[in-house]
Amino acid sequence: MQYAVWFVRLVFVAWMVPAGLNHFVPLFPQPLGNQPLSRELFLALIDSRLFTLVKAVELFAGLCALTGFYVPLALLMCMPVAVCVWYWDVPLQGWDSLSAIYGWAVLGFTCLMCLTYIRSYLPMLAPLARPRSLGSSQTPLVGHIVLAARIIFGAWLLANGISHFVTPLLAMPAGHMPLAVQLMTALHNSDLIDVVMAIQLVTGALILAGLFLPLALCVVMPISVCAAYWSVILEREPLGALLGLAAVGLNALLMVACLEHYRGVLVRRPLALGETEARA
């Protein structure tokens, strides 16, 4: 078992480090896409500098896996990037394209890597996790704040999802600044916005219902961060920026309230499947 785990890890490391580094130190040509939608999305990511964030996460995950430093956390950060890479390589570039092989490989090896650290993620997958108070002592006031944050954040996400798929409840911002419009247009044209909204719909419902809370918060965090980036850095409209930051704040607050469920992810050097503490 451990040999298979090490093989997966070495393949993952050897891909992520050069792929991430390539953006900062040009090593080989970066594929730009050869389909209209993939090219449009790629240019929007480059122009908005979100691609720099993507590549920084890849490099960070690769270096963490190479050096054995907070690997489960790095993998968790890398998972949304792997999903986006898959979406770009497979549905946008074409299911039968050469890119699709790379898309499946990146997503597959990232999932396999997560599977090798499944013990670290198990507490996060608790179906009926109850958020605790912030700090050491449980006080009613803090408990009420956490409950209010959960209801507001969950309802907000759910309303966003319903607005997109069922009936307009909240106005969907299209943007006014050129980069904000470019990115939002690319998200709509590539249908990636549907994925985003579907995630918001499901996670919003789960957060409101109190089911799989740590997992739902973790899944929606990259979307909260990207929404805040869009509203604060690209759109720069005060109310939108405030809402974007509020979404990240609520998401982070609830994650801190569920911190005990993330402890496995925050271990510096946990054992992977098949590994033992005995030194070789």
Partner: protein
């Protein structure tokens, strides 16, 4: 055994059995990139794998009671080969012999690790383990 103690921490010792066990996934990962990832992405992936390979061989030399300094030879050879093969592909006349020299040197050290006997007792790199 764990990944970090074989492929990350160059300070300790690795006996022959675990060395062979760790060498197999390392070689398979190298073969994966050599066979299925073409061009520079595959070549740079191979270069990244050189780090865990270096650590693994350093630990094996330590187990034999030797310093890891001789590994400077294959490191220099691989660096030169990478320079010519990846960054100066037009200089193939120099690059190709450099690659063969690097492969040969690496093979010598791997063979040494495979057949060399580890020290039975504690040495300056620690207790025998594995």
């Amino acid at each position: 055994m764990r990944y970090e103690s074989l492929f990350v921490d160059a300070g300790g010792r690795t006996s022959r059995g675990p060395f062979i066990g760790a060498l197999i996934p390392l070689l398979l990962a190298g073969a994966f990139y050599h066979l299925w990832v073409f061009g520079k992405p595959g070549q740079f992936a191979g270069l990244v794998l050189f780090f865990p390979a270096f650590v693994l061989h350093a630990r094996r030399l330590h187990d034999m009671g030797r310093s890891a300094w001789p590994l400077a030879l294959p490191v220099a050879a691989v660096a030169a080969a990478a320079w010519f093969h990846i960054l100066r592909p037009e200089e193939a006349a120099v690059g190709r012999p450099a690659i063969y020299a690097a492969i040969a040197l690496c093979a010598v050290f791997t063979l040494w690790g495979l057949i060399g006997a580890g020290e039975s007792g504690a040495n300056r790199y620690g207790e025998p383990v594995g």
